[in-house]
């Protein structure tokens, strides 16, 4: 399987128009299928979704869930719970752990855990990202 996603042009106050790697994925939890556009982030340990995106997927905070923290640039942590979902990229469906942030102020990211081991992911000169399994 091979699928390509064009980079998305966006505005940066510092750099003007800037190209960012994005993808369309589908998050699957039971009967719920949620298509979303995400930033492909090779610097992220794990795929990240916000509180209300997890709510769509029917996530609940269970007694056995451990609230932990992830950190980005800087020291401010984000509380998260690790959940398992299925992710569809192109025609490939696989199970992956995702970090469900318990706050809204996070971007939607496709990170490395359970994803980058399944595909060769190639960023093609500010033009497109190619996923090849």
């Amino acid at each position: 399987m091979e699928i390509e996603f064009d980079f998305k042009e966006e505005e940066s106050g510092l750099f003007g128009r800037i190209l960012r790697p994005v993808a369309r994925i589908i998050l699957v939890n039971g009967e719920i299928e949620l298509p979303e556009h995400v930033y492909i982030d090779s610097g992220a340990d794990v795929t990240l979704i916000s509180k209300s995106v997890g709510d769509i997927l029917g996530f609940k905070i269970d007694d056995k869930d451990e609230v932990t923290e992830i950190k980005g640039v800087g020291e401010r942590g984000v509380p998260i719970i690790v959940k398992k979902v299925k992710i569809k990229v192109g025609g490939k469906l696989f199970e992956a752990r995702v970090a469900w942030a318990l706050v809204e102020e996070v971007p939607l990211l496709l990170g490395r855990t359970d994803v980058f081991n399944l595909f060769d992911i190639c960023f093609m000169k500010n033009e497109k990202t190619v996923f090849r399994d």
């Binding site: 064009d6 998305k8 966006e10 930033y39 982030d41 950190k71 990211l109």
Partner: protein, 69 residues
């Protein structure tokens, strides 16, 4: 194959939605707001279709690096 909807997403200027969720169906933003579930439900109700969700960044520059302990 890249869908019409994805082409719309990568080409469109969503700067007026900075910091908000948007729901896209075909080549239209059909709902927006600060809560993904509300946006998604509103879009489904309006269109009868399954929308694709996106969150538009408000940061001047995105430098994303997440460390998971």
């Amino acid at each position: 194959m890249v869908s019409k909807e994805f082409q719309f997403y990568v080409k469109a200027d969503f700067s007026k939605y900075k910091g908000r969720y948007i729901a896209i169906v075909d080549d239209k933003v059909v709902a927006s707001g600060e809560n993904a579930k509300e946006v998604w439900e509103e879009a489904k109700k309006k269109t009868g279709k399954i929308p694709t969700l996106a969150k538009i960044p408000k940061e001047e520059a995105l430098i994303l690096r997440l460390r998971w302990k």
